[in-house]
Symmetry: C2
């Protein structure tokens, strides 16, 4: 070759090297307890703190950078007081120029008992490496390596020269080893209510527009995504990135460099665009990378919970799972309204006289209707009934950024709060309170003591909170640090009042329910209320992603998928068979489970409804029988403190035949199995037929005895599923 | 003249006409009860709503425009909920294109009794004109014309097509009839703590830099000023612009067009830059123009109070004036500290263990010191003692924008809250609570119930609140609508707890103390704590401006003007004679009056201190004997419910000889007068002399009998004054 060709080749090679695999990291290593995962930490020649993660010989996370860019260290002191233009040095670069100061190691192995959960006991076993590095500022990075993945966080010890500091950006990278297939939703500072999108990492920027199926999106980038994000490598490893224990810190999104296949942390900004205001000593949340060679192990992973602090409450006797119904779906479908009257274009609490208003005739939360629900729920063994739209203010609750939008204590004229609670209690159930805040968070905190006192006075022990709309204080998004602090403030106060919280539209959970087990639910994802917009695969992704940080109040159990039957003005069709709805009580774990449909829609299918009545909401143990994100999930769970088991299977838009083995059952027992499965002509996607029939509603119920040795062939329709209740029969197998 | 010369002249004339007097307005007129003032309202040819104000034949406010620019009317409705990008039409221009719809008139004449004040009774007499105009949107502009000036406000009635709307700017003009002399401070969204500057309106832009003598200013314009602004026309009319009853609306500053001599309203923006979010039906605050032909009438004007709503409280028995001292000045001068320890660069409430900290040895609010103050205050007849720095958190309270900065309930180890309150009560006085919020308003509201409960438990009935530093929530200034709502929320909650409020750094008052008489004080201006930076004329301006909207906790009574005697590290000299300090108890009206100095500084001058002990803090009536803004104020006041009178006179940097007539005294009585006046060699400005003497401290006390027929010649030193207590002697004059 002529010399200049060599030069050209060298140039081409140099260019290509940007995208080739970097040199393996050298430095300190850490093994998982079973030796399968290896974490490496080291400082580059430039003093950049870096880490990598390998599964056996396979790279999972290529050498990735760590660190921060800070706004600058506060140096002022104004003894006379007055308003300060805060004194800051220029931006502080904490990504390179470090030297090692200290290394320490530890191990931990403890099994702890859950207050509620997918299992009674959880093992928390890890090896730990804590490296302390210094560049003016002293930082400790603590790594915990579990068999199911890695967690690490930054710690700023108390130190001279560092007290208050503001984050410009956290610079944590997760450099993927290949163009992984990913299930993801767009990064957005105000909502997570997106359909999970499936594509390779390199395709994300191109697919972002299609993925942004939420109308009022506040996405931050063409390649920004949210966590938890689930991926599958070409080596069939399942890799999941998320965070644990977000306290007094903003939530983390990820910005993807699609060329280098490298994620970088993107923290949710506050009203002034900064990314967190901290005071040393302090710690960041844990950044987590779960790794599994089998998708079922992802569902079984408890890494996020294990990284959270143990339960902070001495007395948890007042916390319990809840199976409930609600005066809710009829408003979501448009059949009835939250609002009481159409007389006023806007209302002013304490001024508007509702007693003089004309009822609009469609107010859902009225005495008669609520009693009807109470009767049905009580007859069918439910614990509680949620009632939305019970309180003054719904006429103009949404989209007005109204500060004094609700007072959380004043019922509408047709909602007799004391009488309805007495009636519910006489029937053996409680009402669930509803605090839609309309995102007016200062207003909520102003009223929260009176609101919680009212709950205590009338025997409510659980409340669904909501954060619909743009956040007040102005300029904050739903996941900025001040809002994280608000949600946690509410949680703490609720615990003081022995109140359980189900927070909708709040930050997606990061395992805090271990520390605060009164957090029995969040929504923070696209659930049933989306009706026709729910894609069939959504429920086969959520347990891999959204549920990693905590349970979801998915509100399943819709039997009438043709919404025009509920509200003639609606054209929505909820693409799911009835059996898939039943299966969700098993596959979509939550200690708070709703039978979301109207009583009249259950009344015509009490045979299928029986599964919802029977299914447990708290578990002794769980087995993940079959799982593939975006495709199918089959789970079996044993009811806590009982011998009964429940199995649920859901599929995406593809019909599927599966074989289910029952070797999880007690070998010495036999079980009366009730199998709820899609009829052979069922179809969850086709919709209402020209002849008016609805193939989503075709199911077959079989009863038979089952033992641990048996196998069952089960066919699931498109967007279908099956549910099995297994009641332990005393005595040996004959 | 050649034709082209005529054209040139015409052109010149046309240009000049921009600055010539506009045509008088035609339309509806309104007279004041005494017929002296005339308001005219009319719509221009373009349908612009305009008003003008005349005093006799003299124009005070030239035809000025009214109206708003709105962000746009909300048109969205999102029944499914979720986050909204709020739907707005383009900006709505509400400054022209109106037509008249309705006119109504009214009169009012009522005398009401004050809970506390400069007089017991206030007459509220006005004629009213309400014009309703329409341009899509219906607006009523209500004018009230008193003998002492004009108030007007905008009202948006409930109406179809208008519910929620956002203000882009309010477009209220005040076009002055001449280049008035003005006493003003720069418009600033975070502070009012400026020295009042005196110059003509046309000079304001040029003088703005000199006037911005506050270090961390957030001024909005080179020609922006705050209200209340006092002016004097070349016709010797005194004109004052301010606002009354600011509720759920931002505070108003004024932007001056120095060429047209026209002010325009500039509302304080929220964190997103908008100027108010309203819900019809609603009203703006009152915009006020006070007019007087004598400066004394400005001080006597009660227009701002009269425009406010009557007292909202049924029971006011728990509200009372307070004469107090404080563990405060020693911290302001730097002699001692608010903070307890120097061990920690930063603290975390609930985590930092103060019991383990080393006391810094200079903590002011310690048990021994507080008892010492209690003894002195009780011996000398004071009602209460303020103690600052009693609670955990002062080590890093300022400039850190720390959210959880104080909890308002946890004392330092050396402040035994129960014991000190018991000791104070045993001596017949109360302690005054201190809630410095550090502007972390959400944090304050989180703790306020516990904080007020603590106060109730230990017998505190008054609290000084503070808002030092940048406001949290982020992006808000001190006077935006959300912050106005916060201050009013605190006031309401305090009233529920029977607590009186003295709010420092909050919005300058606008007469709300009529409606909420538990608001017994604000600072919201540059007061005594500024020590050496207080210019001698400041106290001769404040009653014309800052005090129009409510009393000021000016904290007078400094006897030791050489601050190095208090704190050797200080070089400050407070430019005032002792007699001027005494006079302030009369000239600077407040129901809450502090003897601000240290007991040891009074101990050497108990003869002068006697005036402070004797002076009343609540008044039957007041007489304004001599007053000129920026120069001199002499006021006489009768103690409420008693025959005693007190007279105070203060001067600026000029020495002054005055003649005081006592014809305000009861003709049938004689009085024992104690006259406290500057010694002939006194000087409030010169400072400490080379021989170590301090001419500010030279005073003469004379006792004599006085009757209503007498005159006194009194000489005031530079930045000096005099004070006279007149004790009624029973019986007729001999």
């Amino acid at each position: 070759m002529k010399p200049h060709y060599l030069l050209i080749c060298a140039a081409i090679l140099a260019v290509c090297s940007c995208n080739t695999r970097p040199r393996p990291l050298e430095g300190e290593t850490l093994q998982s307890p079973d030796g399968q995962l290896t974490l490496t930490f080291g400082l580059s020649e430039k003093g950049e703190p870096m880490y990598s993660l390998d599964y056996g010989k396979t790279a999972v996370v290529l050498p990735s950078r760590l660190g921060y860019t800070l706004r600058g260290i506060y140096t002022g002191s104004h003894p006379e007081g007055g308003n300060s233009v805060l004194d800051y040095t220029p931006d502080v670069d904490l990504t390179e120029g470090f030297r090692m100061v200290d290394i320490s190691r530890d191990s931990f192995d403890e099994t702890w008992e859950t207050v509620w959960g997918e299992e009674r006991y959880i093992r928390n076993q890890y090896n730990e490496l804590a490296v302390t590095i210094k560049k003016d500022v002293l930082i400790t990075i603590r790594f915990r390596l579990f068999n199911d993945g890695l967690g690490f966080r930054y710690e700023f010890p108390g130190q001279d020269g560092l007290t208050y500091f503001t984050i410009k950006e956290e610079n944590t990278e997760f450099r993927m080893a290949g163009d992984n297939l990913a299930w993801w939703i767009p990064g957005d500072v105000d909502t997570q209510e997106y359909t999970y999108y499936e594509c390779r990492l390199s395709e994300i920027p191109r697919e972002m527009r299609r993925a942004m199926d939420y109308r009022d999106h506040r996405t931050f980038s063409d390649s920004g995504v949210q966590t938890s994000i689930q991926m599958r490598t070409d080596d069939a490893l399942y890799v999941n990135i998320h965070e644990a224990a977000v306290v007094n810190y903003p939530a983390m999104h990820l910005e993807l460099d699609a060329r280098r296949l490298c994620f970088r942390s993107w923290l949710c900004p506050d009203a002034e665009g900064w990314k967190g205001r901290l005071q040393a000593p302090c710690k960041s949340p844990w950044r987590t990378v779960q790794v599994a060679d089998d998708a079922r192990k992802v569902l079984a992973s408890r890494l996020i919970l294990n990284l959270n602090e143990p339960c902070a409450l001495e007395d948890v006797s007042w916390i319990h799972p809840v199976k409930y119904m609600g005066v809710w779906w009829e408003m979501i479908t448009g059949k009835s309204t939250w609002a009481y009257t159409a007389d006023y274009p806007a209302v002013e609490l304490g001024v508007t006289d509702y007693a003089k208003a004309t009822p609009n005739g469609r107010h859902g939360a009225n005495n008669g209707n609520v009693r009807r629900y109470i009767d049905f729920a009580a007859e069918n063994g439910f614990d509680a009934l949620l009632v939305e739209g019970w309180n003054e203010g719904w006429e103009d609750w949404y989209g007005c950024q109204k500060e004094a939008v609700f007072d959380f204590v004043t019922p509408y004229p047709d909602f007799d709060l004391p009488a309805l609670n007495a009636y519910a209690h006489s029937k053996g159930i409680k009402l669930i309170m509803h605090h839609e805040t309309s995102s007016s968070t200062v207003n909520y905190e102003r009223h929260i003591d009176a609101a919680f006192d009212l709950m205590g006075k009338y025997g409510y022990d659980a409340v669904k909170t909501g954060y619909v709309g743009n956040i007040l204080p102005l300029g904050e998004g739903h996941y900025s640090q001040p809002m994280i602090n608000h949600y946690n403030q509410v949680l703490r106060k609720a615990a003081e009042h022995h109140i359980m919280i189900n927070a909708h539209e709040a930050v997606r959970p990061t395992g805090l329910c271990r520390t605060w087990p009164n957090l029995i639910g969040n929504e923070s994802a696209q659930g049933t209320e989306y009706r026709a917009r729910i894609k069939p695969h959504q429920v086969t992704v959520l347990p891999f992603t959204r549920l990693q940080g905590g349970p979801m109040d998915y509100t399943p159990g819709i039997f009438e998928s043709d919404i025009s039957k509920v509200n003639p003005a609606s054209k929505d069709y909820l693409a799911s068979t009835i059996c898939k709805q039943l299966a969700l009580y098993v596959t979509m774990y939550s200690p708070l489970q709703m039978a979301a449909d109207l009583p009249e829609n259950y009344a015509g299918h009490m045979d299928a409804f029986q599964f919802i009545k029977d299914v447990a909401v708290d578990w002794e143990q769980s087995r993940y029988l079959l799982a593939e994100p975006g495709d199918v999930i089959i789970i079996a769970r044993q009811a806590r403190g009982k011998g009964d088991w429940f199995v649920g299977g859901v599929t995406d838009e593809n019909a599927r035949e599966v074989v289910v083995a029952f070797d999880f059952l007690d070998k010495d027992k036999s079980y009366e199995a009730t199998i709820y499965r899609d009829a052979p002509d069922a179809d969850g996607v086709a919709g209402v037929q020209p002849d008016g029939s609805n193939p989503g509603k075709r199911y077959v119920i079989e009863k038979r005895t089952l033992s641990s040795k048996e196998l069952l062939n089960l066919w699931m329709a498109r967007s279908g599923g099956f549910a099995i209740s297994l009641k332990e029969i005393s005595g040996k197998i004959s």
